[in-house]
């Protein structure tokens, strides 16, 4: 009886829910052959907080603070998505000009905040011991102070409402924002000098986790991950919600779709966001910050009863992808069905395809480049 020459065994490893760098409580069951991944199964749900069912028991407006906590890095854009859905459900609530500009400013500031944080975390996963992360957070702090000036809270802003924004921006906000936006390109240059041409990062990130165009489209990936694979799809251009068609900005597309492309597309998107912000901060007109119908919604949420059977789907280009809110009404002040299309969750479904054949170290980086926030994945 002959025995095999080398008795190897596949190692089953749990990159478990408690882990310094799985971006939240997220579990991956991996089957390893030496260091190479043979099979990977993501297990989610550790942060499920029943967001959608809670929304069914509360009025439409009362869901706003909970949307802040979905993707806790991008509170403003989450609010905007739900506001768009409610405006659609009501058959179109008018939004004054100044409020539209404020919405764009807040969304693009959120995009800056999110992308710097993501790149910082990606570098942290690569092992850079926190330096790029702390530089990113230093810039993020300045923008969070802006958010506090406008809405009262740094992260859980609860600021954008159907019909406009909850309150106009205070004195000095626009000057301070202009100053920060003017200094941002210098920070981006410094960040790029630290990272983009670094040979170690290029070696770690290039040709790792390649996502082909076909797979991206078939798996309904959205956001920078899709654009890094070369697909031209940005909801700000496709839907043109709000007043985005007025601004001149470009969409960067990658060619290969690996981790390096996803990282670099985010840097380029930040530069485009800075361009949008400069235009918006210059052109913002004076005026009311919320329409009368919106103000009535803010003051008495229970008066909002959309007709029975009305449905609406409001979607925005959040920094992570397409964030959509589906609302179905049954005539009462509470929604009958409230669903959130979370981009992180959908983008995470291709994790196994991206990771096969790579090493354990690459899995962490690929996860970092997909840019997930467990609050959104699990809702």
């Amino acid at each position: 009886m002959t025995e095999p020459l080398l008795d190897t065994q596949l190692l089953e490893v749990n990159l478990g829910p408690q882990h310094p760098s799985t971006h939240g409580v997220f579990r991956m069951q991996a089957l390893l052959d030496g260091e190479t991944i043979v099979k990977l199964k993501p297990v989610m749900g550790y942060l499920h907080r029943n967001h959608e069912q809670l929304g069914e028991g509360m009025t439409y407006i009362a869901s706003f603070p909970f949307t802040d906590r979905l993707d806790y890095f991008c509170a403003m854009t989450n609010n905007l998505g739900l506001a768009l859905a409610i405006e659609q459900l009501a058959g179109g609530i008018e939004v004054p000009e100044r409020a539209q500009y404020i919405r764009v400013i807040m969304s693009e500031l959120t995009r800056l905040v999110n992308h710097t944080a993501v790149i910082g975390f990606l570098l942290n996963d690569m092992g850079a011991f926190g330096t790029p992360l702390l530089y990113a957070f230093r810039e993020r702090e300045k923008i969070l102070d802006l958010f506090e000036m406008a809405s009262g809270s740094r992260m859980m802003c609860n600021y954008i409402r159907p019909g406009g924004v909850r309150e106009d921006v205070p004195e000095g906000f626009l000057e301070r924002a202009s100053r920060i936006v003017a200094e941002y390109p210098r920070f981006l240059d410094e960040f790029e000098a630290l990272l983009t041409q670094n040979e170690i990062i290029r070696q770690r990130a290039q040709h790792v986790g390649v996502l082909s165009k076909e797979l991206a489209i078939n798996a309904s990936i959205t956001g920078p991950m899709l654009r890094a694979s070369g697909v031209d799809y940005d909801i700000r251009k496709v839907d043109g919600y709000g007043i985005y068609p007025r601004f001149a900005f470009r969409i960067p597309l990658g060619t290969v779709g690996d981790v390096y492309d996803r990282y670099y597309v985010r840097i380029l998107e930040m530069r485009e966001s800075v361009a949008i912000l400069q235009q918006a901060l210059k052109e913002i007109p004076p005026g009311p910050s919320i329409s009368p119908k919106g103000l009535q919604l803010v003051k008495s949420p229970r008066t909002f009863r959309p007709p029975k059977g009305a449905e609406a789907y409001g979607r925005i280009e959040s920094p992570k992808g397409e964030l959509g809110f589906f609302l179905a009404s049954d005539g009462s002040p509470q929604p009958y069905r409230y669903h959130v299309r979370a981009p992180s969750f959908i983008n995470l479904t291709v994790l196994e395809d991206l990771c096969l054949g790579h090493k354990v170290a690459d899995v962490i980086i690929i996860l970092g480049s997909i840019d997930i926030v467990m609050g959104e994945v699990d809702r």
Binding site: L134, H207, L253
Partner: protein, 423 residues
């Protein structure tokens, strides 16, 4: 000042000679040296951790520890106390003996290499005539320790980390040793003291072969002590802490100590072999002392009383040094250069991400190893043809081969990328 410690030691030995028989005196002398090293090593390690935390913090625009004692100087003491009083956990089913032995096997070689370090003129603990061989041999024992630690922890992640660690250390031994061969060729001796003296006319790092050898030796050393960018075995973001995940309390403190002592040792050996050891230009000492007056006088966080006292002390000692016409002591040069290299190590840690395992190995086997072999050839050219012609030929050979190796190792994918912009 230069021979301060030597004079101290000999006077203590003479003092002991009054009560002890003649034959015991060599043992007293050795015992004093051993005690000095064993006492200094933990202090060096503690303040290396302090230095690392402060320097990395400053690179990240923040203050490091500054609450525990002035400037956070008592922070390592607080950390040490914490580690001492922690519960010592041995995982269930782990091999208890090996688990307890692994940190010891890690620390002891790290301490042993201090025996051949020339801290200053006439200040080597044991000037073996095979000092360099001793260093290379003893420092390889740490790979045993890593594997013991990973295996005994009964944890898949630790095992992964340990395997990576051992592979890394063994791979980097080869370029490390080969890069030192050139030093032996030119200095003609394996003894550390002899190598330092052979650099009296020109430090080895200022020669083409020496420069390349210093770089390779230093980088291989960084890889051997598992520091960023080569710290895959203890990559926190993936396998939590690698081979020392399951250690807590004093055992973890011993691993930590081993890592920092080895980092210090690598810096010290690079200084000794390539940067001239304890030699330095004969700058008068009083410059340095008067210069430190500025630093002390402008340090705003020290209370004023201490500042005044500090300034007085510096000025006083400066006057003394001026009158005695002292040059900067040799051990001060050694420490300054070593801490300069330690700063570079910490700087790397604060800036660079880590390489993946296979890339690490690729670097060692495909780039460093051929380069060290070619380096030996170029050093041979230098020795065989003294004068500028030999130097130019050696340098040209190294530059050409370096460029060729980079081309060989740099596959097409690292070319710059293009990005489309769509309106």
């Amino acid at each position: 000042m230069d021979q301060l410690f030597v004079v101290l030691k000999s006077s203590v030995v003479q003092l002991a000679g009054r009560w002890l028989p003649e034959g015991a005196l060599p043992f007293v002398s050795m015992g004093l040296t051993i005690a000095a090293i064993a006492a200094a090593a933990p202090v060096i390690m503690m303040y290396l951790t302090w230095l690392e935390r402060k320097i990395i913090a400053r690179m990240q625009n923040r203050l490091g520890p500054n609450r525990v004692g002035l400037y956070g100087l008592a922070q390592p003491l607080a950390d040490g106390l914490k580690m001492l009083i922690k519960e010592d956990i041995v995982p269930e089913g782990a091999d208890r003996l090996v688990h307890s032995l692994a940190p010891v096997v890690a620390v002891v070689p790290a301490l042993l290499v201090f025996a051949v370090l020339p801290f200053g003129r006439n200040m080597i603990a044991a000037d073996l005539n095979v000092g360099l061989l001793y260093f290379l041999a003893v420092s390889s024992i740490s790979s045993y320790a890593i594997f013991m630690g990973g295996w005994a922890s009964r944890n898949k992640f630790s095992l992964l980390g340990a395997m990576r660690g051992v592979a890394q250390i063994i791979s980097y031994e080869v370029p490390s040793v080969l890069s030192v061969v050139v030093v032996i060729m030119v200095a003609g001796t394996l003894s550390m003291g002899g190598i330092v003296e052979a650099q009296a006319s020109r430090w080895f790092v200022f020669t083409p072969w020496g420069f390349v050898a210093a770089l390779i030796f230093f980088l291989s050393g960084v890889a051997e002590v598992n520091r960023t960018p080569f710290d895959m075995p203890e990559a926190e973001s993936e396998i939590v802490a690698g081979f020392h995940t399951e250690y807590s309390g004093m055992k973890f403190a011993l691993w930590y100590m081993a890592e920092f002592l080895e980092a210090f040792a690598i810096s010290a050996f690079t200084v000794t072999l390539f940067l001239g050891g304890w030699q330095g230009p004969a700058i008068p000492l009083w410059w340095a002392l008067f210069g430190s007056v500025c630093l002390v006088a402008t340090a705003r966080t020290i209370p004023t009383v201490l500042r005044v006292l500090g300034v007085v002390a510096c000025v006083g000692s400066g006057v003394v040094a001026y009158l005695a016409n002292e040059a900067v002591p040799s051990w001060a040069w050694f420490l300054a250069k070593t801490y300069g290299l330690v700063f570079v190590l910490v700087w790397f840690r604060g800036t660079l991400p880590r390489l993946r395992v296979d890339q690490l190995m690729g670097l060692a086997w495909k780039f460093f190893l051929p380069l060290t072999l070619i380096n030996i050839a170029s050093a041979a050219l230098w020795v065989a043809m003294p004068g500028p012609s030999g130097g130019v030929l050696a340098g040209a050979l190294l530059i050409l081969s370096g460029w060729w190796l980079i081309r060989l190792n740099n596959p097409a994918p690292l070319q710059p990328r293009t990005y489309l912009f769509v309106e």
